[in-house]
Each structure stands twice: as C-alpha cells, then as structure tokens.
C-alpha cells in the first residue's frame, strides 16, 4: 500500500514530515445565513502541487476556492498562504489568480487586451507586457487570434484565453474553477494533458475544483474528497481509488461492490468477515477492523473474476451466483451476478481477446472470485 503514491510521479512532499505546506486551511468555517458551506475544515497544500477539490455540487468546494481568491472571507478559522494569514487582504492584492468557470473574459477587449489586463494593473512596462502577452499566446497556441474579441472564438479557444490571462501574472497559486466543465469530451481530454504540462513547465501550484472524478484522477497529485463542507479524505488518486477511507469515498469514486458484515475473527493482519448470507470473506491488510465490529468490504468490479466453473485456487474467496445482467461496453464487459442473498455484484472483465473461451449468458450459474488483498475493509 505504501507504494501506491509513487505510481504517478516521485513528487510527494506530503509524505515528508519536514516539508512546509504552502497553503493551509486551518479550521475554516463559512456560513451563509443558516447554511454552513464549509465546516471546520483543515487542509494543507504543498508548493507546485496539482491539488483537486472533488465533490458533488453544494459540497463547499467552490466556496473554498473563492475564500482562497478573496471573494469570500471565512466566518472563522485561518487561511495561510506561504505562512501569511490572508484574512482582510482584498482579492486584488492576493498573489493568486483564478480561472473562472464561465471564463469571465472581458467582452469589450481583444484576446491580447484580456491577457494584458492583469499585467497593466501591475504597472509593468509596455514592451515587457507585449513580450509576456506574446509568450502567453504562444503557450496556448492562439497567436493568430490576438486581435479577436472573445465572442469570435470557439469554446475551447475561450478556455485557453482564460487560462493565458490567469497565468500571465505568474501567480504563486492558480485557482481553477471547473476549468474543463464547458468543453466537450474529446477537447476535455486533450486539455487535461495541456493543463498538466503547463503546470509542470511553469512550476505553479494549481488548486482545481471539479465534480468530474475522472478529471481529478487524471490531473491531480492529490485529491480532497469533500462532502457537506467537510473533508472526507485527502490522498493521491491511486490511494483514493484503491484504499478509500470510508464507504462514502469508496462509493463516490468509481464503481464499487460493498459487502456489509461483521468481523468474525482476526489473525494478525488477516480478517474473516461474515456477511448477511453466511458467506465468509477473507481479507488481508484489514487495517483497524476489530473482531465483532460492523464493517464493509469494498471491492472494485475489475478485481472480481467471473467464471462458469468453481475456481481451483482455494486460498481466495469464491461465491456462486447467477448471471443477472451483462453489459457489453466494447473494451470490457460488465457482469451483474446475483448472489443467493439477493445482492448483485458487478464484475468487469477486459475483452483482451476477440473471442472468449468461457462464454457466459443470462441466467447462467457463475462463480465470482477474488484474492484476499483485492479489496479493503471499511469501518467508517
């Protein structure tokens, strides 16, 4: 499990106890009237990190971003940027820039003027501004559109202008509010990688708000999962996916099968869980699950194997059921297998070969099997 974090890059300051966080939310609460948007939230973000705030709408992620930008002040708690308390500092004096979800391009200015806007505010010399604007236009590949107005651009081009404008001032931190939300799927995928390259090349700290888990998984170094104004888990995408800390996180990110049950016995790190139907599940690396406790066993569909015959290997877990539904998705097939107690388990199989040797059909008897370390035990 320790190796999961290093799958993406060797960049991992959060594992270093001596590393100083760059942005700190310290017990931040934000209320709008009776509604608590952010509830006593603490979070640390490191320099040069690509950090994603992921959650459903209304979870407080945008409020968090707006507090960082200075458009909202926390009701209580502190926000520190590079050790400096941001309270009372107006947005126009903060060394952070934001890319707005609606892009908020100035409609009466050309692309060039939009990008130069922040630089002019800084009082930068004219020739320096021209140089920087040209550099930004090259970066987002919009050189020939410099004299156009925003309404003469496509959605993707506008998005890139907004991006160029927000990084033109070389802010310490770039805040991105649903940066790819208005783009179509194909463009979104391309732009994800452009954003990652940009962040690497400029060496900026990115804080991105998104409701799209795929987007967060692809781009971010770490993801904070938010729910009702509270942080549910902060971890790398791989940890979030493979080792969710709670039922909420496991359900929120990707597909998952949940087996509710009680811990029947525990032997070192090995645990046996008794499910409602009497079937037992053997799990390695069970964490802090104690005997007698109500727990959930979570396992991803792709870690479950489906076969028509009982698997030979006795060390793993195997259950018999009936094929209830089959969803053919091209690259893979998802089998829905109904167990004797009525629970439907999803298992996906990669269609690596064009013809499968073990064809399964609706209402066939089938076995599902998985190894003891394929899933996690959740106590929360």
């Amino acid at each position: 499990m320790e190796s999961l974090g290093s799958i993406r890059r060797s960049f991992a300051p959060w594992t270093d106890p001596n590393a100083k966080p760059y942005i700190v939310f310290d017990g931040v609460t934000k209320r709008f009237g009776d509604f608590t948007a952010v509830n006593n939230l603490s979070l640390s973000i490191f320099e040069r990190e690509f950090f994603a705030l992921l959650g459903a709408s209304g979870c407080g992620k945008s409020t968090l971003l707006r507090m960082l930008a200075g458009f909202e002040e926390p009701t209580s708690g502190r926000i520190l940027l590079d050790g400096q308390d941001l309270r009372g500092i107006p947005p126009y004096k903060r060394p952070v820039n934001m890319m707005f979800q609606s892009y908020a391009l100035f409609p009466h200015m050309t692309v060039e003027q939009n990008i130069a806007f922040g630089l002019k505010q800084e009082g930068m010399a004219k020739d320096k501004i021209a140089e920087r604007v040209a550099e930004m236009l090259k970066l987002v590949k919009l050189g020939q559109f410099a004299k156009r107005k925003p309404h003469q651009l496509s959605g993707g081009q506008r998005q890139r202008v907004a991006l160029a404008r927000s990084v033109a001032k070389r802010p310490k931190v770039l805040l991105l509010d649903e940066p790819l939300g208005a783009l179509d799927k194909k463009l979104r995928e391309e732009t994800q990688f452009e954003l990652m390259d940009l962040q690497q090349n400029l060496g900026l700290t990115f804080v991105v708000v998104t409701h799209d888990q795929e987007e967060a998984m692809t781009m971010a170094d770490r993801i904070a999962i938010l729910d009702k104004g509270e942080v549910m888990q902060v971890a790398t995408p791989a940890e979030i996916y493979e080792a969710p800390g709670s039922r909420f996180v496991a359900n929120f990110v990707g597909n998952v099968n949940m087996f509710e049950g009680k811990v029947k016995s525990r032997n070192a790190d090995e645990v046996r869980i008794a499910g409602g139907s009497g079937a037992e599940i053997l799990v390695h690396n069970a964490g802090d699950a104690e005997t007698g406790k109500d727990v959930a066993f979570a396992i991803r569909p792709e870690k479950i194997k489906v076969s028509s015959k009982k698997p030979a290997n006795g060390a793993g877990n195997a259950m018999e059921g009936e094929i209830y539904d089959i969803a053919y998705l091209g690259d893979m097939t998802v089998y829905h297998v109904r167990l004797p107690d009525g629970q439907v388990v999803k298992a996906s199989a990669l269609n690596a070969a064009r013809v499968t040797e073990d064809p399964l059909s609706w209402n066939d008897r089938a076995w599902i099997s998985f190894s003891p370390d394929a899933g996690v035990v959740l106590t929360r």
Binding site: G70, M98, G118, E122
Partner: protein, 318 residues
Amino acid sequence: MADAAISAPATGTAPPRVEGGLIPAITSRLVIAIPYLWLLFFFLIPFFIVFKISLSQTAIAMPPYVPVVNGISDLFSKIGEFSLDNYIWLTDDPLYYRAYIRSVIIAGVATFLTLLIGYPIAYGMARAPTTIRPTLLMLVILPFWTSFLIRVYAWIGILKPEGLLNQFLMSLNIIDSPLIILNTDWAIYIGIVYSYLPFMVLPLYSSLEKMDYTLIEAANDLGCPPLSAFWKITFPLSLPGVVAGCMLVFIPAVGEFVIPDLLGGSETLMIGKTLWNEFNNNRDWPVSSAVAVILLLLLVVPIMIFQHYQAKAQEEGR
C-alpha cells in the same frame, strides 16, 4: 427522411415549408405594416404638412398663410408660390440662432446631470437583491401616474422664494435669505432632471442588469481595485445604456417647452418657447413651421449618427 429534406431545395421542387407557409408570411407582413402605417399617418404626413407650411408666406387669413393647397393637383399648379424665404429669415435673425444654441446647451447640461444622478440609481437597482428589483423598478415608473404638468407646477411651489425648499433651509439656519432658484437656469435643470430621470434610469438599468458580475470579480482577481474596475469594465460595458439614456433625455429636452416656460421664467430663450411665441403670439405659422423643421433636422442627424454607430457595433457582434 433526412436525405429528402436536404436534397429537396437542390432539385427545386421543394414543397412549401410548413413553418414558413403562406398565411404566416402575410401575418408577419401585416404585423410590420401596422407600425409603418402609424408612422406614415401620424408622423410622415403631418411632417410634410408642416414642411409645406414652412415654404408658404404669412397672411391675414384663415388659415394664416398662402398659398392654401386643396388636393394634389392644386399642389403642382401652385408650386411656384413656395419659397425658402422663411429659412433665410431664420439665419438673418440672431434670435433663432441663439435660441437653438441655448436649447442644445441647456439640454446637454441637463442630460449630463441626469446621467450623473441616474447612473448610481440604476447601478444600485441592478445590484439589489432580485426579490426587491421589481419594487424598485415600480418606484422609478411611479411618477408617470401623475400628470407631467402637475408635477412641473409642483416644482414652482417647492422652488419659489417663499417655497418649501427655502422654508426648510431657513428653518435649519443654513441660509438667511431665500435662494433665488425659480426663473433661473437652475430651475430648468432641476425640472428636466426630475422629469426625464426615468428615461435615463431604465435603459441604464437594463444594460447594467445584464452584465455578468463575475467580470468584476475577474478584474479584481487580476489586481484591479473596485473603483478602477468600474471604469475599465462596468462603464464601457454599460455604454449602450448610457447612449440610449442620453438620447432619450437629450432629444425631448432640446424641444422642451413646458419646463422652461413654467420654471425658467419669461426671459428664457429656448427653441420650444420661441416656436410657441411665433405660433401663438405672432400667429406666424410659416416661420414657426420652419423653426420646427430645422429643430427636427438638428435632432435627426445625431440620431442617425448614433444608429450608424450602433449598427456597426452590432455587426461586430457585441
């Protein structure tokens, strides 16, 4: 199905489209025709009558000018009797020339003052919570429920030396002797600003209300303090509203008669009053018609310039 729809126009045998059928086409033309007919009967024809009178000569008769034209055929036989003498007369007498200039100046200053007062009102309304906006809008329109003339008369009671304003200021010991406001240009400005404020506020409000507030946040975020953001973002984006509001105030203010007559006193030289005097006191219909035609040209030219500018802006897709 789709193929048929695409190829039909190319073959030229396309059946009439359902949504653009014969009856809707006639209806839509009829709908456009109504305002055109309205303008023809109540603007264009009266204007030609006025224009014709402006080319006539004054006479002690009924109506007080010659030639009197009866029918179209009569018009051609008497065409030689028309002349531009009245227009030449207007350029000869400095009275008219000065009245035009003063009207434009007074209307211009009043328009500027209306903008100065109207802009914050419209801005406040556009930024007010959505729930109270209809109420605020109602309050702006509310004065129209009382007669314009009565409202202007009411200002006499407020502004005269022993009026409400002076009594109030003197009771507070701010001034010792009454301010002379009535029968000065200030009274005209107050009257115009008060009367035409809704015409300024409404177009301003509609253009400010449409504006996306995130733009201001974006400007702030890029290091622009709020006041500067107003001049760089809010104001330029509200320019269509500013131009429309100024036109709606300036144009009627130039020809305004009631306000200068009631509040500005007898010596006020504005073109509306000059026209009134010419028509009623001197009974000189031809000269007053010429004054009206020149006034119209004076106002139409800036409107055409404005519309040209607006059409160009629209072409740019603003």
